[in-house]
């Protein structure tokens, strides 16, 4: 395939994309990102900001639109960006396919986490697993699940999916994946679309959070991943979930979600536990101090009673005098 045919090369801010079928017009504002199947731009059409994807590969773009349309049929929840329309742009004698979708604004997962406390990571994971469960129930597997494809929109913070290029019907072969997040790459399973494929990727996202620059595959397999999990203190608290997700022991996203949920709901969740521990460490003489305080309080209590008794006695004296 000749890459110099790339139509994305001639698109710059200010370019106007005109749809051949709908006659709708979009003005390109800037590039949002580009991947294996095309480039996504921020554009303005009908006074609203939209995301517009242009690709030289009419097959994969059509396939993607099919997925987006299916996802918008999953009721109750916005799983992917909502689909607006697909059209062709006739430019320099060639017909270039493009599609328009909702522009999802937000932070990437890792930049969001930079400004937040640790417990947010758990909440985002639980949200993600809930959405994945809905997706799986609708008969799809996300496929190319990785931090770059996740965005935190809000407020309130809510996880959203960006690129559905890898989203595959359950039972088929995964369309698109990224090696680090792919169980096939690590020698830990097939590339058949099933819920456990996505859950493996969720585990790798957790590992990626501890190793921001990722790591190379050596011997691969569970042995290598286990070694990297054990090496990183922050990761060790997740090791039970990671073990199960990586080795395909969760039957559904819901099962993993509930596992995490019960872990985070415990009063001694790792972060809080660590924090109270550190507080009690700094105030080790604390119990004694509290005891002293109690003593003071007790003494003050005595004083009050004596005072009340005295006042009552004084009134009683006055009363007696009055009667005399």
């Amino acid at each position: 395939m000749n890459t110099s045919k790339n139509p994305e090369a001639n698109i710059t801010p200010g370019s106007i994309i005109l749809g051949k079928w709908s006659q709708n017009q979009y003005t390109i504002l800037r590039e949002l990102g580009s991947g294996a199947t095309g480039t996504v731009y921020l554009a303005r059409g009908n006074g609203t900001k939209v995301a517009l994807k242009v690709s030289s590969d009419s097959l994969s773009i059509t396939s993607e639109v099919n997925v987006l349309k299916y996802l918008s049929k999953v009721q109750g929840k916005k799983l992917g960006p909502s689909f607006i329309e697909m059209d062709d742009w006739v430019h320099t004698g060639r017909s270039i396919p493009f599609y328009v979708m909702e522009y999802v604004q937000g932070d990437t997962l890792f930049s969001f986490m930079k400004q937040r406390k640790d417990e947010w990571f758990g909440i985002i994971l639980i949200q993600l697993l809930g959405d994945l469960h809905d997706l799986h129930n609708a008969g799809w597997v996300f496929g190319d699940l990785k931090p770059d494809n996740l965005l935190i929109s809000g407020p309130p913070p809510k996880i959203r999916w960006l690129d559905v290029g890898g989203t595959t019907m359950v039972g088929r072969a995964i369309k698109e994946y990224t090696e680090f997040f792919d169980r096939g790459f690590w020698g830990l399973g097939s590339r058949r679309a099933e819920p456990s494929y996505d859950l493996f990727a969720v585990a790798m996202i957790i590992i990626n959070f501890a190793y921001p620059s990722r790591f190379e595959k050596k011997e691969g397999g569970w042995e290598q991943l286990k070694r990297y999990i054990d090496k990183e203190r922050w990761l060790r608290k997740y090791s039970r979930f990671l073990d199960k997700a990586i080795n395909g022991q969760y039957q559904s996203a819901l099962e993993m979600k509930q596992d995490l949920l019960s872990y985070y709901s415990k009063k001694t969740s790792p972060t809080i536990h660590k924090r109270t521990k550190s507080i009690s460490y700094h105030k080790k003489p604390n119990p004694q101090m509290r005891y002293q305080k109690k003593k003071v309080q007790k003494r003050r209590g005595y004083l009050e009673t004596i005072l009340i008794v005295l006042i009552m006695f004084a009134f009683y004296v006055i009363y007696l005098i009055g009667h005399m």
Partner: protein, 246 residues
């Protein structure tokens, strides 16, 4: 629609042919026989994209109705998978376009349909790609300069088998290396649905300076014909696969 079988040759090389027939011509012959030729050109670490005589890589693929890609060895795994699957989709797309021309008239292709309809056609293409049986003959250049790249080639081929075996359709792989010791190509693995047996394969490296890409391709074509006639002798093996898979 009949499920059928797609046939591909995947040529992995790092240089220009310098011996025997013109590989571009043989690739054209392959296309006529219904076999797609894809080519992956591997660059060495210190080699820039332009330096290499890689025009031939593109020409062979173009003439063979397939896809070519030039990569550094470390990107090989993803590329092998991408090229094979893309070529597969492209072939199916071509077949479906032919059908569309039958139905809608001359010059009508999927791209001429309104987006709505195009989506429906694409669903068929996707489904076909999932179900179709695939035969890939992998032809690996093992001339001296490929020496340090062969472990990566091996890994990428195992990776390819993971990807393709995740499909519903059946696969058969065969691996041949060229130049061979006495013949143009040597067999490393005969038609097999798995590539796990690959581990021991790339031990014997030829050190000759010749790269007979053309003759190697011709031999590869022969292997497809041989295989087909064998199947015919066995009596409708193809049909049996079709029924069990659908």
């Amino acid at each position: 629609m009949r499920k059928g079988t797609l046939r591909q040759i995947l040529l992995i090389t790092d240089g220009c042919s310098n011996h025997g027939e013109d590989p571009v011509a043989i690739a054209a012959l392959a296309k006529e026989k219904g076999i797609t030729v894809n080519v992956i050109g591997i660059l060495s670490r210190n080699e820039a994209y332009g330096e290499h005589g890689l025009k031939e890589v593109e020409d062979i693929a173009m003439s063979g109705g397939g896809i070519s890609q030039i990569v550094y060895a470390n990107q090989l795994a993803q590329t092998v998978k991408m090229v094979t699957q893309k070529a597969m989709t492209q072939t199916i797309h071509g077949m479906i376009n032919k059908e569309l021309t039958h139905i809608l008239g001359e010059g009508q292709q999927m791209e001429d349909l309104p987006p709505e309809k195009r989506g429906q056609v694409m669903e068929v293409v996707d489904e076909f790609g999932e179900m179709v049986d695939l035969e890939v003959l992998i032809l690996v250049d093992i001339s001296a300069s490929m020496d340090d790249k062969l472990p990566t080639v091996q890994e990428s081929l195992i990776d390819l088998s993971i990807s393709l075996n995740s499909r519903t359709g059946n696969n058969l792989f065969a691996i041949y290396a060229f130049p061979g010791k006495r013949q143009p190509i040597d067999r490393l693995i005969d038609w097999d649905p798995q590539l796990d047996s690959l581990v021991k394969t790339f031990k014997k490296i030829s050190t000759g300076g010749i790269t007979p890409t053309g003759p190697a391709l011709r031999e590869a074509l022969e292997l497809f014909s041989e295989k087909r006639s064998k199947q015919e002798l066995l009596g409708g093996d193809d049909e049996y696969i079709e029924e069990s898979g659908s």
